[in-house]
Symmetry: C2
Subunit: 305 residues, 2 copies
Amino acid sequence: MEAEFVRWLRERIAPSPLVFPGIGDDAAIVTTPRGHCVVSSDMLMDGVDFHLLECGPWAAGRKSLAVNLSDLAAMAARPLAALVSLALPRDGGAAIGRGLYEGLLELADHFGVAIAGGDTNSWSGPLVISVTVLGEQTGQGPLLRSGGRVGDDILLTGAVGGSLLGRHLSFRPRVQEAILLNDRYALHAGIDISDGLSLDLARLAEESQCGAEIDLEQIPVSEDARRLATADGRSALDHALADGEDFELLLAVAPETAARILADQPLDVPVSRIGRLVAERGLWQSSAQAGRAPLSPAGYEHQFQ
Amino acid sequence: MEAEFVRWLRERIAPSPLVFPGIGDDAAIVTTPRGHCVVSSDMLMDGVDFHLLECGPWAAGRKSLAVNLSDLAAMAARPLAALVSLALPRDGGAAIGRGLYEGLLELADHFGVAIAGGDTNSWSGPLVISVTVLGEQTGQGPLLRSGGRVGDDILLTGAVGGSLLGRHLSFRPRVQEAILLNDRYALHAGIDISDGLSLDLARLAEESQCGAEIDLEQIPVSEDARRLATADGRSALDHALADGEDFELLLAVAPETAARILADQPLDVPVSRIGRLVAERGLWQSSAQAGRAPLSPAGYEHQFQ
C-alpha cells in the first residue's frame, strides 16, 4: 500500500535542516548556502498515467510537465526550470522522444520554464517520463498542506470529476492562479487535486491535524462528471469526489478571507466554497437532505505489496 | 540514436539565462532570483542499469543515487539533497521499495544528502528509479566539459575497465575528490566516466572544441579489466577504453597544474596522466610501439530509432 510505504519512508528518513517541510507535501523547499529553491518530482508511466497508443507522445509529454507544475502551484511557487528523464521504448523511441518533448516544451514555453537537463534512455519496456521542476517561493511564502486551522473555509478552483474524458491530459496547471491568490490573500494551506477531491482533502486535513467537512451541495461538479455518470451509472457527485486528476487547487483560508475571495472572484476560473476544517478528525459530508455523516476518502492510490 | 537525439534536443531547446551551461553537460546550474543550485537527473531501469534479480534492491537503490552524485562530482559540486521517483513492480513492490531506499539512504547519509521528496508509483512493468540531485558550487566554480584548452594534460582518478564484475554497483562517487581538487588546483574541465573512457573523453574534447590524444601505455587498467579479458578474449586495454560505469573523474588541466597534482597525489586514489588535449579534432591514440593513430570512441550509448 502506497500510504503505508510513505509512512515507513517518513519514519526512516531523518528530518534535515536543509529541507522543508520534508517528504509528503506536494513540493519541498531546499535551502542551500547560496539560496533556496522549491522542488518537486513526478513520474508518469505508459499504461498508468496515460495510454501512449491512445493519446500519443505529445499529450503524454505535456502531461508529464503539467502535473509537476501543478505540484508547484499547490505550494504557490513560481516554476523556473525542469529536468526531464526518459525511458524510451527501443522501437520508435526517437519519434516518441521528439513528440513528447514538443508537447512538454509548448507548456514550458508558456510558463517560462527552462529545461535544465535530464537523461534520455532506451529499453525494452514501456515509456516512462520522470520530470523534476524547480521554482521559487512567491507572495507570502510557500503554501503547505499543514497550515490549515480549525474553522478555515475550504475553497476550490474550477469544477471536478470526469477528468478521464480528456481533461487529465489537457488541463492547465493553476500556476498563475495560485501565485495571484498567494500574493493578494492570506492563504493557510493548499494542495492540488491529483488523486481525488475527497482523498486529497483528507490529506490536507490530516497534515493540518484536524478534520474536514464537505458540503456536498456546494461541490462544483464538472460536465465531464455528469457525462461519465450517464455512461457508467455511478453518480456525478461520486465522480467529483473520487476521480482525481482534476489538478484544481484546494485551499484552506480563514472565513473572512474566503468571503473576500468569493466576492472578488479574482481568477478566470470560478472559486467555490465547498466546506470547512473541523476539530473532529476524519472526513465528513453534510447535506441539507441527509445531515452530517462520515465520508470515506476515495481516489487513486498506487497498489503494491 | 542517442547522440542524434541529444543534438536535436539542443537545437530545439532555446538557451535560457537561468540555466548554465545548458543541456548536455553532467549537471546544470539553475539561477533563481534567490540564489542558485546545481542539478542533475539520472534514471535507472531494471535490465539495463542493473539486474534486480541478481543484485537485489539494496544495490540498485545505492547505484541510483551514486550515479547522480558522480554527475555532481563531475562538476565539482557538493551534493545537498535528492528527489527519488520510483516505478515499483506491483508484486513485491513494497519490499523492493524498502530495500532500495535502505541502499540509497546509506549513501545519502554518508554524503550528508537530504531526501527532499519524490514520487512512489506502482505498475506492471520492471523497476525504474529516477533520482534528481541538488548541490552547490564549490571552490573555483563549476567544472564544465567545455573548459578544456589545447595543450592541457588529461588526468584520470583510479583505474578503469571491467566494472561489470561488480564495481558498477559498489563504486564510491568521487565527490570529495572533485571538491578537494577544485579547491586546491585550477582545473579547466571535467567529466565522469559513465559510458566509457574513450567515449566520455571524446565528449569532453568535443565540448572543449579540440581533440584528445590518449597515451595507451599510461592508462591505469583495473584488475577487473584483466580478469574480464581473460574470460572473454578481448584485451584488458579495450575494456579499459570502452567498458564504462567506472565513475572515475577525467580532468583537463594545464601541464604545470598536472605536474603539481601528480607530484602531490592529494587523493586516497591514484591520479594518472593519460594524455592531452590537441588542436586536431577527434580522438587519437599513441603508443611507443605503434605511434599515433585515430581512435574510435567506444562505450555505452542508448540505442533507439
